[in-house]
């Protein structure tokens, strides 16, 4: 068993790495710019006379967050799209240039034109009215060569200075080359690019200049408020853990004995009634149950029995230890009940099924024939076997608790992992998101090992399999 456990632990590393990589890829694919979220886009937040993407605030925040680096060690894209495009912060311009490169099949002409146009824009900004500058800016957002050339014609007419008009025509001539000798087919050839160690994933995993990085136990800093991620996640994890432990205890204390009792009900009608009731309970979505509880049990409009929000728990300093615990438990009753309901129903059904199987086995019938009491039969024969699905389920229960907590934590205002995950996704706070993904993966692995070990001790069949 020890060797088997060790082997399991060895599998953790590639497993965790794969989960991190998958999480990282999904983050890269999700829309929404973390820099804009960090800058909290409000009209006063940027200079009024330059594009937000050109402001020092945007540029410095992008560098600070490391988003100017390549995402990963390796990238694959059409051979015609140059890596240089990533340094262009304006998404509209980047997209337009990428499209031009793909159609043209030759990035050097596109970049020549882009650079010429940037120089032209600076010149026009010095001596031409706003209208001219506007047309010049809009050209950079076009991905059709014909449209670019049409706007150059407009720009030439609008220019007030003859020298500037000549420069516009010069840029237009470079743009016209985009139409010549197009080799779009080249874009079908993929190009693999090696970015070295200076990439976002490497920074997250190994840190910068020998400091930080997951490898040193540093999850980085939150994009949202620049606070270290580890204490944020630790605080949320502790809240969820309190809730989860209470929920698991309740689940096992209610569901397993309940399932065993249900297995012993002789009347088919009565058994069917309880089974249907459990199925209904299992089918109720936890967010709906939570909302119902909040409406009917936490409001003077109906029954004002329970507090609404866990985070509003206000314990005066001079409160005794016992009262303090009672207040905490009082605040946990509804979220824990809500969280437990579906799981407990499922577990009770599984326990009943397993117990019934045992009760029909020859071993059980033999023991019964030997004159063992009901209590002895349940304790020695049925209960250990009936616990097997519950223990097998434990492995998935821990991560499920983390992910399933989102709705409960939002409804009852608990600062746990679910709530944190929701807020962090919303704010594109990716260091926190990555930490949550990692912890969820880790808890899944721990849960699997724990349930394996427990099964090893409870179920003789698994012991035999291990020995073989």
């Amino acid at each position: 068993m020890a060797w088997r456990t060790l082997k399991r632990l060895l599998y953790w590393f590639p497993g965790l790495l794969s989960v991190c990589l998958l999480g990282f890829v999904l983050i890269q694919l999700s829309p929404g710019d973390p820099v804009l979220a960090r800058l909290n886009l409000i009209p006063d937040a940027v200079s009024t006379h330059e594009s937000i993407y050109e402001t020092a605030a945007y540029q410095s925040t992008r560098v600070e967050l490391g988003l100017n680096r390549a995402p990963f060690y390796l990238s694959v894209q059409p051979i015609t799209v140059p890596d240089k495009l990533r340094s262009i912060a304006h998404p509209g311009r980047r997209k337009a240039l990428q499209s031009l490169c793909i159609r043209r099949g030759d990035s050097s002409t596109v970049l020549d034109w882009y650079n010429a146009h940037i120089v032209l824009r600076f010149r026009l900004a010095e001596s031409e009215p706003a209208m001219v500058q506007r047309i010049a800016s809009e050209i950079l957002l076009q991905s059709e060569t014909e449209e670019i050339l049409r706007r150059y014609r407009l720009l030439t007419e609008a220019c007030q200075n003859a020298e500037n008009a000549a420069l516009v025509m010069q840029a237009a001539r470079i743009a016209a080359k985009l139409n010549e000798n197009q080799q779009g087919w080249k874009s079908l050839i993929p190009a693999f690019q090696w970015h070295g160690l200076n990439n976002q994933f490497h920074r997250w995993l190994f840190g910068d200049s020998g400091e930080g990085g997951l490898i040193r136990g540093d999850f980085g800093r939150s994009y949202r408020d620049n606070q270290p991620v580890a204490p944020i996640v630790a605080s949320a994890f502790s809240q969820t853990l309190i809730l989860a432990i209470a929920a698991w205890m309740l689940m096992f204390l209610v569901a397993v004995p309940g399932g065993l009792r249900l297995a012993r009900i002789a009347s088919p009608g009565k058994a069917r009634f309880w089974l249907h009731l459990l199925l209904v309970l299992y089918s109720i979505p936890s967010y709906w149950l939570g909302t119902l509880m909040l409406t009917f049990l936490c409001s003077p409009d109906f029954l004002n029995w329970f507090p609404v929000a866990y985070k509003l728990m206000d314990i005066p300093e001079n409160t005794s230890w016992l009262s303090r615990q009672l207040i905490i438990i009082y605040h946990l009753i509804l979220p824990v009940t809500c969280w437990t309901a579906a799981g407990a129903a499922f577990l009770a059904i599984q326990t009943r099924k397993e117990a019934q199987a045992v009760m029909q086995s020859k071993g059980y019938l033999g023991a019964k024939a030997r004159g063992l009491s009901d209590k002895q039969l349940m304790t020695n024969h049925v209960a250990p076997r009936a616990l097997i699905p519950a223990i097998g389920w434990l492995g998935g229960l821990i991560p499920a608790s983390l992910s399933g907590a989102v709705a409960i934590e939002l409804i009852f205002s608990i600062n746990g992992m679910g709530n944190l995950a929701f807020q962090s996704f919303h704010m594109r706070d990716y260091p926190v998101v990555m930490a949550i993904i990692l912890i969820a993966a880790l808890t899944t692995l721990i849960g699997t090992v724990v349930s394996d070990l427990l099964l090893h001790y409870i179920d003789p069949r698994t012991r035999e399999m291990t020995t073989k």
């Binding site: 829309p31 020092a56 706003a130 507090p307 609404v308 206000d314 001079n318 009262s323 009852f412």
Partner: protein, 578 residues
Amino acid sequence: MRSISLYTLLIPIVFITACEEAYETSGKSERARIAITSDPDAIHPVLYRTINAQSINDLVFQKLMQTDPATHEPVPVLASAPPTISPYQDSLIRITYNIKSKAVWTDETPVTADDVIFTFKATMMPGVRAEGKRDFLRGIRSIYADTLNEKRVHFVCEHNLRTTYATGAELGILPAHLYDADGLIENVSFSDIINYNSNEDLPENWQLFAETFNDNKFSRDPDFVHGSGPYQLTSWTSGQSLLLTRKENWWGKKTEKTLCYFQNYPIEIKYFIIAEPTAIIKAAKNDQIDVGPILRSQDYYDLQDNDIFLKSFKLASTPELSTNIILMNGCKPILADVKVRKALAHLFDVQTYIKVVQKGSGTEVTGPLHNTKPGYHDGIKPYPFDAEIASRLLEDAGWTDSDGDGIRDKMIDGVKTNLVLEYLYHTGHEGRRNAGMMLQDWARAAGVKIEVRNDEWLVFIERLMAGDFELAFFSWTDEHAPTDPTPVYHSSAIENGYNFNCYSSTVADSLIEAIAQAQNQQQYQENWKKLQEVLHRDVPNIFLSTNQSKIFVSRRFSGFAPMAIPPGYFAGSLKPAQ
């Protein structure tokens, strides 16, 4: 088994009794418990960015001048009187403030001109994360302390209303001896900082200062956050709560409390961060919070009929400096024609929108300026809701239903184009979705097809900035300062700003420039009125209505000072009922 059931019944009763006792002894008589939907980003007058941080910062830090919510005029707070303005050289002016003699920091050190200069220097210092605050301060050329009076400070700046306002009412003042304890920029002048050449390396002490000043401890740690305001940050647990405690020996204690910024009634103000609006209302009903954040219209009107709630709470609705508009992207070929834009304005029934979606709590506006601000043009009549006029305008623009499918079409650049427009709103705003559905119905009558779509906020805003939309519901929040339309309506702001409408007019540009440079109220208001006429004619977007901040306040408080910017009240003014 019977005994277990009895215990089961008894346990909740014991819990409830224990908890009720705990609450009774918590001494809530002069504590204000306020719900906010998210953490403020910083308790720091230079570094904060979010609007909910602003209201909390105003309790800890003070400005030289601040807008009186009752009159919308700047009034002295740290300054002893309104500033004196005198001409300086080269068309510049000198603005002089005297700081109140009694004004001191938490450690009893006097607030001096050096503190004011330090705050402005720190804001303009490269590397300090205060980019959002700098634009208003660009008109200031130098700041210096009076050689004879440490409580007198002079600003030399450009002569325009915005800059004059910014010298007094833009920044909360910081104590230099606490936020630059090592004197890293003590000998650096304001002019040195604004004239710094960004191509050169930043001096070492400047760099060190920026790093220290940006440190989180100055934004979050109670030991490092110090202002001259009536409250002190006592604790802050992210995502959970934030506690401000009243300063018992505060310098402004004996000042006349007519101005809300000098009111500090609650002994403690505790902010609870609760994201879920339903939970906030339930918590209020459970007597767990006293004041809520801005309510959704539907919740507000539901609560108006809830007698149990109204026994403990008052509902209040205060005008908010924000206006709702439907953006129209004029860079899109269909919307480039003013007749089409005007037709759409005729197809939106603003009065019905106010009645149905806003439940009557808005006022129709005909321009971008809020109707309570000086310069608003009362004389402009809104476009009447009339599908016939809209149809005529569309026909004039060449849009006809040539194939009889109920949707107008037109040949654009040789391609038959249907008059189909996408209406975008950001997720979570039911009212904005309803506005889109209403427009969809009304527009159908004139042969215009509207497709209603939503996007999450960050994706929504990125689409607006990239010009990747046709119609979008948007709300602009203004501020008390003179409104500068440059970033929203000037043609230079199409790519370089927030001119999402892609609106461009030389007439409007010159009026906008005149507003930005207005030296007095008369020039400012005259040009604003002319600009509103031009915008009404060109219809860059559909102007809809103003909003109201709807809040609830516990009856334990006899009153509060309403504010025109979120959250709609000044927390220090929550006066416990006798």
